[in-house]
C-alpha cells in the first residue's frame, strides 16, 4: 500500500432510497477520518451529471489517486462512475463501489444499524482501493455472425433484423420447421388477422434471406467462449431425408403405413404418419422420419417411403451431424408451452375429451386444423351448443399447483375465441369464467368490450370448482362472485386457458450460456427496466417469452430490440476486454495443472521455461501455467484452486480480498 494515495469518498443519497435509512452525512464524516482519505462528501444523486461533475472536479482539485463511491450495486452504475473518473484523468480501475443500497438501506430498517453498516462497507471498499493497481483493458475481435436459438416468431424476427443490417445469422430450431407457436394459431388479437397470413411470409423471408442459415431439427450441443467470440456446437439431428434432394412432394407421407403417432402440431387431437411434414407451410418443406414410429426403424421391414421417393431423398443411414461455428452474439428465443394440467383434475381434462386447452381449441378453430375449422366436440364430432371458457387455469396460482404469475395472453385470446365462436355460430351460448379481465394494450379493452357488448358473451366473475360429465353434457360448477351464488352450467365443451411456462429446454440452454434464470425458468434480464433484452451474461440477448409472458406484438418488439443490441455489438471491430483477469506468478507455480482443470473457458495452458538456479547446474527447465488474457473471464476459479498461491486475479487479488475481510472485522 502506498501512503501516497489520496482518496475521495462520495456518498450517494439515491434520493430517499439510501438517505431515508442511512445517515449519509455521518458516513461521509466517518470516512473523512480514515487514513488516505483527503475528501469526503455526500450528494443527492451521484449518478446524475451534477454528481459526476463533483467527482471529476474533486479528482482534479485534490489530485485524487482513487475514488470510493458509496451508492447502489456496482452492476447498476460502476461503468458510469468509472467513465466519469476516466474523463478526469484517473485510471477507471481506481474506482471502487461500496454497495450501501441493495446491501444496506433496502434491507435494513434501523437507521443506526444501517448507518454503522454503511460505514463498514465504505471502509471495506477503501481497504481494497488502497491495494488497487491501475489496469488497462486489452481488446478482442468480434466475430461478425449471430446465433439465434429458437425459430418461432421471436427468433425469426431477430434473425431478419440482424440479417437486414448485413450480418450473417444462424437460426437453430429443435423441431422440424420454423414457425413456433404462432404457426399453430388461428387468428390473432385484437385485429383478428389470420396468424398464418402474417407469419408464413416471414418464414419464407427467413428461408430465402441469403444471410440467414436455418438449422431445423437441430439442438444446441455446447457453447463456449465469451462476448464477440462464442463457439457453438449444433447437433443437426438426422432427418433421414436428404434436404438437398427432397422436393417436398409429400408422396412419402401418403404412402407411410404407420399412422398412429400423435400429431404434435395439432396438440395430439389427431394422428400423423411416421414420416411427416408438420404442416403444409412448414419451412423447410422437407419431411422427417420419426424413428420411434417408423416401421423400418422398428422392424427393418417396410421402406415404402424409400421405394416411392422418385428423388431418392430417403436415407435411412443418415447420421446426426455436429456443426461447430463461431459467433459474436447469441439471441435466446426458446419460447413457451402450456403447462401440464395433471394437477388440475377438478376440470376433468384428463378424463373428458371435450375439456380442451385453449391451444387445442385454437387448432379446432383453425381451417387447417384437425376438424378443418369446424367447431365440433372431440368426443363425438357433434356441434356444441354451449361452451364454457375458464381463465387463469394455473395462472396467478398461489396453491403451488400452478404458476404464481399472470400468463398475460389468456384474457385476450379467450375473448378472441369467445367472439369467433359467436360470430361463426350465433346459436352457441358462450360463458367465460374469470378472476380479473386484464386487457392493457392498444385496442385491447375495446376488443374485450366488443365480445361482451356486441357478441353477448356471458362473462362471469368467479372460478370453476368442478367439471363433471353428466350423460353427454359437462356439468360445470362455478361461483358467480357478483351475484354471490353458486351456479351450474350444462356445457358441451369446456376450454381451459392453461398457464404458459418457458420451454423446459431453456434450462439446458441457460446453463450452456451461463445465463441466469429465475424460479419460474424465465431468463433474467441484465436490468428489469433499463436493459430488458440483455442477459447479465455479455453477448447473450433475450427475445420473446423465454424472458417473460408476452403476446405477439410485444414479442416482435422485443425481438427487434434484441436484434438492435446484437447489431450494435457486431458493428464493433474490437471489444474492450475485462482487464481483471488471472495471472500466474511463475516463481511460485509448480505446474500441477489444477488451475487448468477448473478453468471453464480453457484459458490456461502450460509452457516449459528455463529458470536460473543456484549451484553448478545454473539453470533448470520448469513447467509453468500461462493465462491467455483474451480468453480469461476473470471468474477466479483458478485462484482458489491453486495450491501454491501462484494464481491471482488482477483487481481482485487475494491480498485485496483479505484486506476487505480485515476491514469488515476491524
Amino acid at each position: 500500500m502506498s501512503s501516497l494515495h489520496k482518496i475521495g469518498v462520495f456518498v450517494c443519497w439515491c434520493g430517499s432510497n439510501i438517505a431515508a435509512t442511512v445517515d449519509v452525512a455521518a458516513v461521509a464524516e466517518a470516512m473523512r477520518a480514515e487514513p488516505n482519505v483527503v475528501y469526503a462528501t455526500d450528494y443527492q444523486y451521484m449518478c446524475s451529471e451534477g454528481g459526476q461533475s463533483r467527482i471529476r472536479e474533486a479528482i482534479k482539485e485534490y489530485g485524487l489517486t482513487g475514488v470510493v463511491i458509496c451508492s447502489c450495486s456496482p452492476r447498476m452504475h460502476e461503468a458510469t462512475f468509472r467513465k466519469a473518473a476516466q474523463s478526469a484523468g484517473l485510471n477507471p480501475y481506481m474506482v471502487e463501489i461500496a454497495n450501501i443500497r441493495e446491501h444496506c438501506s433496502w434491507i435494513h430498517k434501523d437507521r443506526m444499524d444501517a448507518t454503522a453498516k454503511a460505514i463498514v462497507l465504505a471502509r471495506t471498499a477503501l481497504a481494497k482501493l488502497n491495494l488497487n493497481q491501475p489496469l488497462t483493458a486489452g481488446e478482442s475481435n468480434v466475430v461478425k455472425r449471430a446465433l439465434v436459438i429458437g425459430g418461432g416468431i421471436a427468433g425469426i424476427q431477430s434473425a431478419l433484423d440482424i440479417a437486414e443490417a448485413g450480418y450473417e445469422v444462424d437460426i437453430v430450431e429443435k423441431t422440424p420447421t420454423i414457425g413456433g407457436r404462432m404457426a399453430q394459431l388461428d387468428k390473432t388479437f385484437p385485429t383478428l388477422d389470420c396468424a398464418a397470413c402474417i407469419l408464413t411470409p416471414k418464414m419464407v423471408d427467413a428461408a430465402q434471406n441469403e444471410k440467414i442459415t436455418l438449422y431445423t431439427y437441430s439442438e444446441m450441443e455446447s457453447v463456449s467462449g465469451f462476448v464477440g467470440n462464442f463457439t457453438a456446437k449444433i447437433r443437426k439431428k438426422a432427418r433421414h431425408v436428404n434436404e438437398d434432394l427432397c422436393t417436398g412432394c409429400g408422396l412419402c407421407q401418403e404412402k407411410c403405413p404407420s399412422r398412429k403417432a400423435k400429431n404434435e402440431f395439432n396438440m395430439g387431437l389427431n394422428t400423423r404418419t411416421a414420416i411427416y411434414i408438420p404442416f403444409a407451410q412448414a419451412i423447410p418443406n422437407v419431411p422427417v422420419i420419426d424413428t420411434e414410429q417408423c416401421i423400418h426403424f422398428k422392424t427393418g421391414k417396410c421402406g415404402l417411403c424409400q421405394m416411392n421417393c422418385s428423388a431418392k431423398a430417403i436415407d435411412f443411414e443418415q447420421q446426426d451431424e455436429i456443426i461447430e461455428r463461431q459467433y459474436g452474439a447469441i439471441v435466446v428465443a426458446t419460447g413457451f408451452r402450456p403447462i401440464s394440467l395433471e394437477r388440475f383434475d377438478e376440470f376433468g381434462y384428463s378424463q373428458n375429451p371435450d375439456v380442451v386447452t385453449s391451444l387445442e381449441f385454437e387448432r379446432i378453430m383453425n381451417a387447417a386444423g384437425p376438424t378443418k375449422g369446424q367447431l365440433v366436440r372431440p368426443s363425438d364430432g357433434k356441434h356444441p351448443h354451449c361452451i364454457v371458457f375458464v381463465q387463469c387455469v394455473g395462472s396467478r396460482d398461489t396453491s403451488g399447483c400452478g404458476k404464481p404469475y399472470c400468463s398475460k395472453i389468456c384474457c385476450m385470446y379467450t375473448a378472441k375465441h369467445a367472439m369467433l365462436v359467436r360470430e361463426k355460430y350465433p346459436d352457441v351460448e358462450v360463458h367465460v369464467f374469470y378472476i380479473d379481465v386484464r386487457t392493457p394494450g392498444k385496442n385491447f379493452d375495446e376488443f374485450y368490450r366488443r365480445a361482451v357488448e356486441q357478441y353477448d358473451v356471458d362473462y362471469i366473475k368467479g372460478m370453476v370448482g368442478k367439471v363433471s360429465s353428466h350423460g353427454d353434457k359437462l356439468q360445470v360448477q362455478g361461483s358467480d362472485l357478483i351475484a354471490d351464488k353458486q351456479i351450474i352450467i350444462d356445457a358441451d365443451m369446456v376450454v381451459l386457458a392453461a398457464a404458459i411456462e418457458p420451454d423446459p429446454e431453456v434450462r439446458k440452454i441457460a446453463t450452456m450460456l451461463t445465463a441466469s434464470i429465475d424460479t419460474n425458468n424465465f431468463l433474467t434480464e441484465a436490468h428489469p427496466k433499463l436493459r430488458p433484452v440483455e442477459s447479465p451474461t455479455a453477448g447473450v440477448f433475450l427475445s420473446g417469452v423465454c424472458q417473460g409472458p408476452k403476446d405477439i406484438p410485444e414479442t416482435v418488439a422485443q425481438a427487434s430490440a434484441a436484434a438492435a443490441k446484437v447489431i450494435g455489438l457486431l458493428a464493433k471491430d474490437k471489444l474492450k476486454r475485462n482487464p481483471c483477469v488471472a495471472h500466474s506468478d511463475e516463481m511460485l507455480c509448480n505446474g500441477c495443472s489444477a488451475c487448468e482443470k477448473v478453468c471453464p473457458y480453457g484459458a490456461i495452458s502450460y509452457m516449459d521455461k528455463e529458470f536460473r538456479v543456484p549451484g553448478p547446474k545454473r539453470t533448470e527447465i520448469r513447467r509453468i501455467a500461462v493465462v491467455n488474457e483474451a480468453v480469461c473471464q476473470g471468474c477466479g476459479a483458478c485462484t482458489v484452486t491453486c495450491p501454491s498461491g501462484a494464481m491471482d486475479l488482477k483487481g481482485f487479488s487475494t491480498k485485496q480480498i483479505m484486506a476487505e475481510v480485515d476491514a469488515i472485522c476491524r
Binding site: F344, Q351, S468, H470, G471
Partner: protein, 260 residues
C-alpha cells in the same frame, strides 16, 4: 406386522361395524392392531385456531403414546385420521404449537411429530399392497358394482394429508378391484356430504347427499363404500330421495377375506 391403532369414539358407539370388521380383516391379513392404551377423543374437528393448543393435546397424547411404543399409528375413522395427521403436521412444522404443547405436556422426551400416521386404506395400499390383498381374498365380490365415496377428510388439504389426488383419487377404486368387485367411477365421489352442517341446516346436507347418490346411481353404482361415520350418516340416514346401500369399506373387506 404390528401397528398402534387409534379407533376413536364413534367406532366405539355408532360405528362399531367399521371397527370390528377392520380388526377382523387386519387379523386375517396377518396384521396386529394394538389399540392405544387410554386414548382420548381426537377432538373430532381439526382446530384451526393458531393461538391455543388445548384442543390439540389429546391428539398429541395419542401420537406420543405410539412413539413411545415404537409403532406407526393406524387410524380408521376419516375424521380422526384428519385431525391426528394434521396435528402431527403442526408438531413437525409449527414451532409455536410444538413448543407450547411440549411445555404443557412436560414429556420425558419432547415430541416433534416423529410418529408416522397412516390410514387403514394407506396400510392396505402401502404395507399390504393391493396385489397381495387380492391374493388373500377368498370370497371375491364378483359382479358387485361399487362406488367409492371419499368425502373430504381423507383428501383435503391435500398438501397435508398426502393421501391421494384430491380431485381424481383412485385408492378406494383400487381397493374395490382388489376385493374382486367392479369400481364405478362417478364425478361426485369427492364432494362434501354435508358434514356437520346436518346439525344446523339439515336440508342443505340432505341436498348434498342426494346429489352424490344421484351421481353414483347415474353411473351405475349399486352400493357405496366409505371410511367415515359422518359420511355414512349423511348418505345413509340423512338422504331423502335416492336410497343406495352404503357400507363401511371394512365390512366388504372382511366379507372378501371370509371373516365377516
Amino acid at each position: 406386522m404390528k401397528f398402534s391403532y387409534y379407533p376413536g369414539c364413534t367406532l366405539k358407539t355408532k360405528a362399531k361395524d367399521l371397527d370390528a370388521y377392520g380388526r377382523r380383516a387386519a387379523e386375517a391379513l396377518g396384521i396386529t392392531l394394538e389399540e392405544l392404551p387410554e386414548w382420548q377423543c381426537c377432538g373430532a374437528v381439526y382446530p384451526m385456531a393458531k393461538d391455543e393448543i388445548a384442543t390439540k393435546l389429546s391428539s398429541v397424547r395419542a401420537l406420543v403414546s405410539a412413539r413411545d411404543l415404537g409403532n406407526d399409528l393406524v387410524t380408521l375413522c376419516s375424521a380422526c385420521h384428519h385431525v391426528i395427521k394434521r396435528v402431527n403436521g403442526d408438531m413437525q412444522n409449527d414451532e409455536n404449537i410444538r413448543t407450547k404443547a411440549n411445555n404443557y405436556l412436560q414429556l420425558e422426551t419432547p415430541y416433534a411429530g416423529e410418529t408416522k400416521v397412516i390410514h387403514y386404506l394407506e396400510m392396505l395400499r402401502d404395507v399390504v399392497g393391493f396385489d397381495e390383498l387380492k391374493k388373500k381374498v377368498v370370497n371375491p365380490l364378483k359382479g358387485r358394482k361399487i362406488g367409492a365415496y371419499y368425502g373430504c377428510m381423507l383428501l383435503r388439504p391435500s398438501k397435508e394429508m398426502q393421501f391421494d389426488n384430491p380431485e381424481n383419487p383412485t385408492i378406494i377404486e383400487d381397493f374395490i378391484k382388489a376385493i374382486g368387485a367392479t369400481p364405478v367411477l362417478y364425478p361426485f365421489r369427492n364432494e362434501c356430504c354435508g358434514g356437520y352442517v346436518t346439525l344446523s341446516k339439515k336440508e342443505l346436507a340432505q341436498k348434498k347427499a342426494d346429489v352424490i347418490l344421484e351421481s353414483a346411481m347415474e353411473q351405475g353404482a349399486e352400493e357405496l363404500i366409505t371410511a367415515c361415520p359422518l359420511c355414512m350418516y349423511n348418505l345413509d340416514a340423512n338422504s331423502t330421495a335416492h336410497k343406495l346401500p352404503v357400507h363401511y369399506f371394512t365390512e366388504l373387506l372382511a366379507e372378501a377375506l371370509g371373516v365377516k
